[in-house]
């Protein structure tokens, strides 16, 4: 029976099946797509708090990259560049979400949300805290935000080094600095209740 899955695969692996076919236009991009698309989706899901939205953004990024082979050839470290583009796309999506929410609030949609059952209030509070974290991440240098997201997504130093295009031996230093900067900015914005 051809359609039966005979083995167990990590969920992330299945994300490859949803990856855009257009990446086949460039072998280098196709290679990155195969190896890094699942990790990029996990990183974006962490950032966005929504797996489906993360997959959409990653798909859009790879599709756009596949349509601009000149940009790909100009990049010295294609892998790091793809991660950077994906991270920026994630933050752009967050900004669009924020603008949409403000419009909804202005239109009174938020009032309907507040009238929802009590467990929804917990969800809203959690989402507000996550919004604070996202705001601070968006304030950081892209590489600092990336390393925090990648590490918090469970990537090993070797994988982070590959994604950032840096030596594995410098990941510890970059991570320590990014954590210090994140904490400093979080305290500056929201006080010492960290």
């Amino acid at each position: 029976m051809g359609g039966v899955i005979e083995g167990v695969q990590p969920a992330e692996e299945f994300a490859c099946y949803g990856a855009p076919d257009m990446a086949r236009a460039d072998p280098a991009l196709e290679e990155i797509l195969r190896e890094h698309h699942p990790r990029i989706v996990v990183m974006l899901a962490r950032l966005m708090g929504d797996r489906q939205e993360a997959e959409d953004i990653a798909g859009d990024v790879f599709s756009k990259l596949a349509r601009s082979p000149a940009a790909i050839r100009r990049s010295d470290d294609l892998t790091a560049w793809v991660y950077r583009v994906a991270t920026n796309a994630g933050f752009d999506a967050l900004r669009r979400r924020s603008r949409r929410r403000r419009r909804e609030e202005a239109a009174g949609v938020e009032t309907l949300r507040l009238a929802a059952p009590s467990d929804a209030l917990q969800g809203m509070l959690r989402e507000e805290r996550a919004g604070c974290v996202r705001a601070v991440l968006a304030d950081l240098k892209p590489r600092d935000a990336q390393i925090l997201l990648l590490r918090s997504s469970g990537l090993a130093y070797r994988e982070i080094a590959q994604a950032l295009g840096v030596a594995a031996g410098s990941v510890g230093t970059l991570l320590a600095r990014a954590e210090a900067e994140f904490e400093r900015r979080f305290r500056a914005r929201y006080g010492d209740g960290i």
Partner: protein
């Protein structure tokens, strides 16, 4: 004491991301260097706080990928080492003036110790000028476990603790953590 470790090395050490031989080396250094020990503690605390905040993104609480467990174990180990040091000051007789002080760290290669302890110490000294009153049985010197986690193999390093340079044998497990300790008296046992 070797040169202090960089922030990046200590952060990698917390995550267990250093090469195995480096983990052991950094572990030994951190155990004897107050500056680096404080830096590791500060890095671990900050990593935990940042991890908790980033955990809000998934709505699942603190992330599991940061070294909360490791840092807590390290703090417990450090506390146990400090307790042993305090015990050493109380129990060991005060040293009188000695012509030669022992080296802070044993010069010989580290020995691989089979655990469980205790280790039986054989009297391996050459003939001494002092006459012993009678033949002595080998002394059994027990290691004090620094935590209750079992381990099968480790490396024994002789270290000098504190400003008084109290000698102690410390067993490090393959992941670089100090797991057991015994104090060494002046005769070298």
């Amino acid at each position: 004491m070797k040169q202090c470790r960089s922030e990046g090395e200590l952060r990698s050490y917390l995550d267990g991301e250093l090469p195995a031989e480096e983990i052991a080396s950094v572990g030994v250094h951190v155990a004897e260097c107050a500056v680096c020990a404080a830096a590791v503690e500060a890095l671990a605390a900050r990593a935990q706080r940042v991890s908790a905040l980033l955990g809000e993104l998934s709505g699942a609480g603190a992330s599991a990928c940061l070294p909360v467990q490791r840092s807590r174990r390290w703090i417990a180990t450090a506390a146990a080492l400090a307790a042993c040091l305090a015990l050493a000051f109380v129990l060991l007789p005060k040293r009188t003036a000695q012509p030669v002080r022992p080296a802070p760290v044993a010069a010989g290669p580290p020995a691989v110790a089979a655990i469980p302890v205790p280790a039986v110490v054989q009297p391996s000294h050459p003939a001494r000028p002092r006459k012993r009153p009678q033949s002595r049985k080998p002394e059994v010197q027990y290691f004090l476990a620094l935590d209750d986690e079992p381990f099968e193999m480790g490396v024994v390093r002789r270290v000098a603790l504190g400003p008084e340079e109290v000698l102690a044998d410390v067993v490090f497990s393959p992941d670089g953590r100090a797991r057991a300790i015994r104090l060494v008296n002046d005769s070298g046992n």
